[in-house]
Symmetry: C2
Subunit: 392 residues, 2 copies
């Protein structure tokens, strides 16, 4: 069962940190540890002891699905219903029992620093770990010390397993449905919001069921015209109609069963100017050079520098936002960061994006291009993508 | 300027709590205090001193939009760019200066218990308040005590201002576009995901720009057929095709500039059975009775009991999930909760939903109906809605 690989990786690290058991509650971390994507944020707990079998606690109705991917102990608790014991009371008792079983004089690990988190798939609230969870753990574990294990989780998470890479391939494939729809829809006379809706529909309708995908959501933002020079950073789709020969940019996040893809495409709604074409080629070359430089042992700073120097060789200044970042269990994982001077060291099977951008009046807007790739000895291997052109 | 009403409400409460100044960081709380909807979660701070002028800190590019709604002091900091000081370094210095100006021997208020939070409008991460923010505040404020002001914020937030009610009217109006599209789309042969995409498109395309709306997102989940008897609680849209005369349920969250609408509609893709029609009428009557009972001074428990007894009078058992909840700055605000024995007291201009549901094999699925309304002396007044029928 896939979950156990992650448990096996975490246990020696917990022992080194003097942690008897870690209680993981954030949706994306429960997915990381167990392979199961909890629907209601906060209503799922992975309990990983430093030694012995890990336990996954999920709402009753999720047990069958969780059992498909999780090979450890599985316990359930009621949610939603008012005619049953309150969910957190049941969880507290179960945690207390697990704490007794796994008490060896150490502390309890928790996600103390995990205050940013992936958006949930539905409109219901996201769940982080702050005072209420600390209080729950204090009640469940008495006065035992809490140890923040966020860094340990983040570092382990950055290198993906085979199953996770397969899930990310699916997410990137489904994102491709949306990028194709973008190329079709980015036409003069269409509004930015119409184009964005076409992209999201192209992701959500064929995406559900594609290679087993169950929960799919597209987040498309489309921005167009000269405002791209500055406005790209405060991006939101507007009712603005695209004019002939204008630049149109798609920023796209795609969520598939808790795994994330992150893409940018820029096209011209008509014919590109020679300056725009040169800038587009510079951006594409910079992105390709960055991914080629993303080999095990390179640093985030190395990759960033490669992208910027490639852009500069083509006569353009790459904008000083990051060149890229890690991703997978969220749109932006904490590592590796591909930034000037970045010290994160790349390792095989890290997943990252390169997204160099040029924004200036000379090209009447801005151009960015972004794909995800898997770090390997020959450079990073693309996860999906598109092969359409920049203009008509 | 609208923001100041909230500041004036909060200041005496901060003084009573011995708080010199409160630093608000969660997107929905910054919106609540200032009227400004920050785009990047965590990249916006409202600093409310117990006395004197409040300050809003936003990214540089948001200053013009923030100034449209915020009348207090406005400061900016750089984000995204690597060629400028780091955002949090600038924020820390600005907080330090504000702390010196507003030091009177008291503590610093923060959102310590705010670990659940509204989804962001884009795919980027949501931001809660955990150890990293506490560390930022420790650096900015030295060793000053931190006081959790979450409860104070939640209680104040539950009663909406005139401007907020207007924003919620807009959100509910835009949600109505989606509910109309649902009635059109919920036909035999359509898949659940097709229907959901049609709803989201109907919200996002005409929604942007409607009465000034800038950021609009629909979260539609559609579920259909006999699986609704149990599966409604683990809801996700599937590639399943609706069969003739089946029940089809829409669960819909609508985000408009940081304000949320929450709706459920159930229709029949053809002709209802007599049992289904009776259950639908019971649910509608229960919802109407709940809203009529939502007057100032009533408790959440009173409203819940009214809904359940109305359902029972029609010969049905209302399912033991909550009858409803407060909302506005998120889909589920912490109060009032309309649950058995609920003690939250309703006040004029609280916004809440009633969403009674019946799920049983006798009706070949489940039926729920949900609208939002504003508490007033004559009962709660609906915010938008639809007037189409249950079946053909």
């Amino acid at each position: 069962m896939a979950g156990n690989v992650r448990v096996e990786q975490l246990q020696p690290q917990l022992r080194s940190a003097g942690v008897d058991l870690a209680v993981i509650r954030m949706t994306e971390n429960v997915l990381f540890v167990s392979g199961h994507f909890v629907q209601i944020a906060g209503a799922g707990f992975a309990v990983v002891p430093a030694e012995g079998e890990a336990t996954l606690l999920v709402p009753e109705y999720e047990a069958p699905e969780a059992a498909e991917v999780w090979g450890g102990a599985l316990e359930t608790f009621p949610v939603i219903r008012n005619d049953r014991p309150a969910a957190l009371e049941v969880v507290r008792e179960r945690l207390r029992a697990l704490a007794v079983r796994h008490a060896d004089g150490g502390s309890v690990g928790y996600e103390g620093s995990s205050e940013t988190l992936a958006p949930p798939a539905q409109a219901g609230e996201a769940g982080a770990v702050a005072l209420p969870t600390r209080r729950l753990f204090e009640e469940a574990f008495g006065g035992r010390e809490l140890t923040d294990v966020t860094e340990l989780l983040e570092a382990t998470k950055a290198v993906k397993t085979g199953r996770e890479l397969e899930k990310l391939e699916i997410a990137n494939e489904i994102a491709g449905f949306g990028m194709l729809a973008f190329k079709e829809a980015a036409r003069p006379g269409r509004t930015e919001v119409e184009i964005a809706a076409a992209v999201e529909t192209a992701i959500e309708v064929p995406g559900h069921g594609d290679r087993g995908a169950r929960v799919v959501r597209g987040y498309a933002t489309v921005y167009s015209g000269p405002d791209l020079t500055d406005g790209w950073q405060y991006f939101r789709s507007r009712p603005r109609r695209v004019e002939p020969d204008e630049l149109v940019m798609l920023e796209l996040g795609t969520l598939v069963d808790g795994f994330w893809a992150d893409h940018t495409r820029t096209v011209v709604a008509g014919r590109a100017s020679s300056e725009q074409r040169a800038a587009y080629e510079a951006v594409r070359e910079a992105a390709a050079a960055a991914l080629a430089a993303a080999v095990p042992g390179a640093t985030g700073g190395d990759v960033d520098a490669t992208s910027r120097s490639t852009c500069a060789s083509a006569g353009f200044a790459q904008f000083p936002h990051h060149t890229g970042h890690g991703l997978g269990f969220r749109l932006h994982e904490s590592r590796p960061q591909l930034v000037p001077g970045g010290t994160h060291e790349l390792r095989e099977n890290m997943v990252l994006v390169a997204e160099p951008g040029i924004y200036q009046a000379e090209i009447a807007g801005g151009i960015r291009y972004e794909d995800a790739a898997v770090v390997g000895p020959g450079g990073a291997r693309l996860l999906g993508g598109t092969d359409y052109g920049f203009d008509d």
